[in-house]
Symmetry: C2
Subunit: 584 residues, 2 copies
């Protein structure tokens, strides 16, 4: 833990040096807040003009001078009135506001840090001297707008972000990983490999899956559908809208309204773009009477749904208005709950392994916080379901963090977290225990003695939202998908027109085996066509010429090791079929 | 033609006899209109009280008396003023209104028919005597409400429907076919076989596919997806909503607005539940530049969409608010159009044959009518595309009717029509030639000389909307789907608990072969379980007991011929796998 503190002190001190540099450049600058953050720091300023990227270099140089000057960070306590006067005199109205806030909270004294010309209201701690900051291990990275106190009603300030490390080596490594992340960004690769397209005329948060992306999506969807069928799930199909009545019953109307798009008025009724599949599947459960003999009942659906996102936050496949969730609801008896939940865990781990991302995830138990109005109101059931959830996770030997306040409004969740290429953690898959909804929807089953009982409901995904999971997969593989997931598994390149016919023959043979193949008969040079296929990250390039035709063989260039190997056609087909089957 | 006229005269005369009977029952009755219709007739009445079903029998008996009395239908001409006075005196205000309408149109004389106490304004012709109506060949079928002159602003009258034929035999045959239709009604079978459910809390036009229906839907969807892939289609996935901007470009906003649900306002933008897939797929085409070498490009999608229906007309899977269309758009050069269109025809015929309904359909060429404001405005392109469409249909040797005014707003269509069990014709599949949209969306390809050219676009389905096609299939097969489409293909019934284990073994074996199987281990009697399985129309019932276990065999009861046959397990699996593969 000590190491983290030390680097945080370094980063926060660098933020003060930035502020001092800004003051040197703009004597009239007013200061907002400037904390250390992951990998670095930021500081918010109210400045006489808008910053331009070129300013960052000027500021970096000024910062280096301040570091070189090795100025002492001087700490002093001041009475709150004294501080208010001092900062008022300095014209630092934001700091004055902060001091007044502290005063209202009952504080009598504040802590002040000074380094050269820059004085800040700050509880520290800081380094002793600016010279302790390694001058070659920080970098200002970007400028953005930020509302004072994050409130849209306040003035927008200019925020400068920086990164800071203990050594140049660490900085270089970080910058390299950022470069790599940029290269792996699913938006960039999605465009290069023609996987998806976002069009302003359709909507920023409404990605269109182009044929190459759609081919992968189809494989993903059928993979999980078939696995679910094997494990005793039943499928449903339900519409993307539902009457508002449904969401009044479910509690969404009271507890989830801010996450839903406004209703569509049709005749005298109102319909909602659904934010979840549960109410629809509940109505299917309710459409017939169930006996305990039928339970557990597992309804699965690839369900399109819509949840409100700020339009400024919409991005690629990761943050979207509408998405397709690999969703399911399991209706079971209380006695069956543990086994069903463990089976869900097993399915998830099986699926993540097949996708090759099982080592990238971590677990979180998402529980309720104290703001009870956010949740359905039944303390007993909440306590019970939170205990069941954590007990099962413990029993399964799963290590997890606890996320207080991260529960769904109707029950606690086990979340599976994954970091994107930029290190930002996102939830990819959730499992929930719901002891509330059966009551609200009056769902029941008839038990052995002929009495009505409430089923326990598990809400779960196995591979998450197709959109978001695809985004992670693109970034994880940097577009070089394993063979079973590749949109084009094989491309055939005849060395010249003379061998197009032989190429076509192989193409047909592959197609008949349901292998996704293309043939490039264009008039471009062999080298150019191979390079293009490599850029498209196609796992196998089959070059065919006279030698190959005579021997009924193909020259196979493998993406993985860039080697070329001549094989009989039959042999190649056996190899690739095995890889597809085994999901290598 | 003569025969049709004769039966129409009979039906219309029976309507007059009904009116006379009503007058006998309600002397204060006022008469609306009473024409002959398909299979019978109706008459609208303004009566002092609401009719009840029991009234129909009373009226039928009165009608039989009138027929037995063999009253003459007397025809007379009258001056329009004379007629107006006469009907005013009779208190027949609706008839007076009709006479005034005729007067306004410039008529001087009207024709009057009288049979006993009932006088009607009527142009005939009628039979000579009521006795010519076969008293055992008509039936009053139902009572409904109907606005005077079909205008909701007018008073609602009571309509009595009847059917009438030339012989009792014809009537009985018709009634039997109606009984059969009722038995085949997809709403009835959908409920019995638990295929789908309509719930008021979700929405009347928003069917929920229950697991048994969803299993069939998945088979249907994968069947057409795979067939399209074989035929060189590429898949896309696009969202169910789109920005209004898109529909302004496409022309939907100007020409199709009445068929769309109102927009959803999100931030400063408006989004529409899409009524068609074309604009979304056009944006995918537009996302990259295309060379003539890539054409034809065929984009296919199972696309959910929403079109406005009057809520009173929503019904089962046939008339819905939202549906999933097996949709595709083919972008090709003008030279490729004919071959592509013929290939589409071939795919449709292949698919209809696989579904077993290829003999039930007829073709229609749906062309533009004179109301040009309904269509995109380009006479030359319209004439051209209508000619291409009918030429291709002629060339393919397809017999078709012409539906003037049935075109899409952007181009002419070839529609495939099918009759439902009640004899009502509906469009199940369409193909369209679109010479308009490429221009509107600025879609192009680069031709051999490097110039931009507009592609021709074919809009087409192959198996239509999943919902509607499913409705037809349910009715066509009366729920007894062919094996490859059955939700449960095999049910295993152990004769007693002792053989559950052997049953489970077979169940697992079938599951491993991807055969959709169930096992009924309930404590009900063997006979009851077999009857239940028969009611569920499961193609194969496997009864297993001691003899079967010893011989590793199963006693197979076949739905088709109700025969039972003992087979080795292996033999049965081979048989059913062959049937599934061959779509028998």
């Amino acid at each position: 833990m000590k190491k983290i503190e030390k680097i945080e002190i370094l980063r926060h001190s660098t933020a003060h040096v930035l502020a001092a540099a800004v003051l040197g450049m703009f004597p009239e600058a007013k200061f907002g807040m400037g904390p250390a953050v992951e990998n670095g720091f930021y500081y918010d300023f109210d400045l006489p003009r808008t910053l331009i990227p070129e300013d960052l270099e000027i500021l970096e140089n000024k910062m280096k001078e301040i570091i070189k000057a090795n100025i002492k960070f001087e700490q002093a306590d001041a009475s709150i009135e004294e501080a208010e006067n001092d900062f008022k005199e300095l014209g630092q109205s934001y700091k004055v506001e902060l001091i007044r806030d502290l005063k209202e909270e009952g504080h009598k004294k504040v802590c002040i840090y000074r380094a050269g010309i820059f004085v800040d209201l700050c509880s520290g701690p800081h380094l002793d001297y600016t010279g302790e900051i390694p001058a070659d291990a920080f970098k200002l990275t970007r400028i953005s707008g930020a509302y004072w106190k994050s409130d849209e009603k306040n003035k927008q300030l200019q925020r400068i972000y920086g990164v800071a490390f203990e050594s140049k080596k660490d900085l270089d490594e970080y910058l390299r990983s950022m470069e790599d992340a940029k290269e792996r960004d699913h938006r960039k690769i999605g465009k290069e490999l023609k996987l998806f397209h976002i069009d302003e005329n359709v909507g920023k948060g409404l990605p269109l899956w182009m044929p190459k992306g759609a081919a992968i999506r189809q494989v993903l969807q059928r993979f999980i559908e078939d696995e679910e069928t094997k494990r005793g799930y039943l499928r449903t199909y339900t519409p993307v809208i539902g009457n508002v009545k449904l969401y009044k019953i479910s509690g969404h109307w009271d507890h989830y309204k801010n996450d839903m798009y406004p209703p569509i008025k049709i005749d005298d009724e109102e319909y909602i773009l659904r934010p979840m599949t549960c109410p629809h599947q509940f109505m299917i459960y309710k459409a017939e009477q169930h006996s305990y003999r039928e339970l557990p009942l597992r309804y699965a659906e690839l369900a399109e749904m819509y949840r409100k996102e700020k339009s400024g936050e919409l991005s690629g496949l990761m943050r979207v208005m509408g998405f397709t969730l690999n969703d399911a609801h399991i209706f079971c008896t209380p006695e069956q709950l543990e086994k069903e939940f463990l089976d869900v865990l097993d399915l998830i781990q099986f699926s993540l392994k097949a996708l090759g991302i099982n080592k990238e995830v971590s677990f979180r138990a998402s529980l309720r916080d104290k703001e009870k109005s956010k949740y359905l109101n039944n303390d007993k059931l909440w306590d019970e379901s939170e205990k069941i959830l954590t007990d099962i996770l413990d029993k399964a030997g799963i290590k997890y963090e606890v996320g207080v306040g991260e529960a769904a409004f109707y029950g606690p969740k086990a979340d599976i977290q994954i970091k994107n290429v930029l290190g930002k953690e996102e939830t990819i898959i959730t499992m929930q225990i719901d002891l509330n909804s059966a009551e609200r929807f009056d769902l029941f089953y008839i038990d052995q003695s002929g009495k009505k009982q409430r089923p326990v409901i598990i809400h779960r995904s196995a591979i998450g939202c197709i959109e978001r999971t695809m985004a992670f997969l693109i970034e994880h593989y940097a577009g070089a998908f394993p063979v079973w997931l590749s949109s084009v598994q094989v491309i055939i390149i005849p060395v010249s027109e003379k061998f197009n016919e032989y190429g076509e023959k192989i193409f047909e043979e592959l197609k008949n085996k349901d292998i996704r193949a293309e043939i490039d008969k264009s008039s471009e040079s062999l080298g150019k066509r191979i390079r293009e296929a490599e850029k498209q990250k196609i796992p196998y390039i089959l070059v065919v010429g006279e030698k190959e035709e005579k021997a009924e063989s193909v020259a196979v260039r493998m993406r993985e090791n860039k080697k070329q190997e001549v094989m009989k056609i039959k042999e190649f087909i056996e190899k690739i079929e095995k890889e597809i089957k085994e999901k290598i």
